[in-house]
């Protein structure tokens, strides 16, 4: 699967299918610090992302 990350903007590949929480664990991202979005829809931590899919991992932490 293709993962779109921010700060800085980049793409990484992760082998799928995997549940969202497994993807975040593999990327060493704390679940409380991001949202995972497929298309324009929010997906839950136990949803499965297929190997041919693209998801955005959007940070929710702001500095101000």
């Amino acid at each position: 699967m293709k993962i779109l990350l921010h700060h800085p903007s980049r793409e990484v590949a992760v082998a799928g299918p995997k549940k969202v929480w497994q993807v975040l664990r593999e990327l060493e991202i704390l679940p409380d610090t991001v949202l995972v979005i497929r298309g324009d829809a929010l997906i839950a931590d136990d949803d499965v992302v297929g190997d041919d899919e693209t998801v955005e991992v959007r940070p929710v932490i702001s500095g101000g």
């Binding site: 929010l42 940070p59 702001s62 500095g63 101000g64």
Partner: protein
């Protein structure tokens, strides 16, 4: 994962409340938390105009959206800090949001007023950009709201912001700041408007999730000046604690508020305010922090 309220498919888990919600029940939860904050802390009434400080980020746009939906009379206040492309994109987000909903707003441009953006001003003054930014925002939000006859300024500070700020204040034992860290700051001078934080019961992730569900187009990029900021380090530490022990941030901040209320009742703080000799705005010193900042800038030019 199922919604704990209606058993439909859940889209978000909230470990700190040991629950999960579907989109409809989650939206209800978010609105309820904001209404509860407004009512329980007596932030403002239906008859009052509310100036909403809007940056173009998720928190302030969600706040503006919900207050408008709840029927409050709002005025958006945007400070264009002149931080290059970041400020341009932020301003466009606010303009598009307001135009799409027919909401009134005011933009105050730092560059138009002083001929320099925040980064140049901070560099000229040899101050950290975030410190100068705080002075600029606090001063202008109050002054503009007062000019427009709005008795209240609402900001988008959330639970994560407040817990991180509390951690910073405790680590440095900044007791003056601890006294002022409240969801409501009353107007202690005729020219000061009330400052309120209606999102303080909601976590940053909950607000971002609501923004995505409601298709609110906010700026995802971070302010370039915030990279490596203390606030981000405090948030990172708290998020690691939260992952190991859900509810930590909530307990830390809400137990502080309980203690603060008890202290305020025992010895209410009485700020010694006068009017700035230069601009007439309320200040604890003869010249307010903003006029000092602007004055130093003029000397440097």
């Amino acid at each position: 994962m199922r919604c704990r309220k209606c058993s439909a498919k859940a889209i978000i888990r909230l470990p700190r409340h040991n629950t999960a919600f579907c989109p409809g029940c989650f939206s209800e939860y978010v609105t309820d938390q904001i209404e509860r904050a407004i009512k329980s802390d007596r932030m403002f009434g239906r008859e009052e105009g509310i100036a909403v400080a809007v940056s173009g980020g998720k928190d302030s746009l969600v706040l503006w959206e919900i207050l408008s939906r709840l029927g409050y009379r709002t005025l958006g206040l945007h400070i264009d800090l002149g931080i290059g492309e970041y400020s341009e994109r932020s301003r466009k987000k606010v303009e598009a949001f307001a135009a799409g909903r027919g909401l009134p707003f005011v933009v105050h441009s730092l560059r138009e007023e002083h001929g320099a953006g925040l980064s140049e001003i901070a560099e000229g003054l040899r101050r950290p950009p975030c410190s100068a930014c705080g002075v600029v925002k606090r001063y202008n939000m109050n002054a503009i709201a007062f000019q427009h006859g709005m008795p209240v300024v609402a900001t988008g500070h959330n639970l994560d912001d407040e817990a991180a700020r509390l951690l910073g204040n405790v680590l440095h034992w900044q007791e003056d700041y601890l006294d002022k860290q409240s969801p409501v700051l009353p107007n202690s001078h005729p020219k000061l408007v009330r400052k309120v934080k209606p999102l303080y019961r909601l976590a940053e992730r909950e607000i971002a999730a609501w923004a995505v569900l409601q298709k609110i187009d906010y700026i995802v990029d971070e302010c370039p000046n915030s990279q490596g900021s203390k606030m981000l380090r405090y948030k990172d530490a708290l998020n690691r604690l939260e992952a190991a022990s859900p509810g930590t941030k909530h307990q830390f901040y809400f137990q502080f508020l309980d203690r603060q209320k008890a202290r305020a009742q025992a010895a209410p703080a009485e700020p010694d305010l006068r009017e700035c000799a230069s601009c007439g705005q309320p200040s604890t010193a003869e010249i307010c922090s903003y006029c000092k900042l602007v004055g130093t800038l003029k000397v440097l030019k």
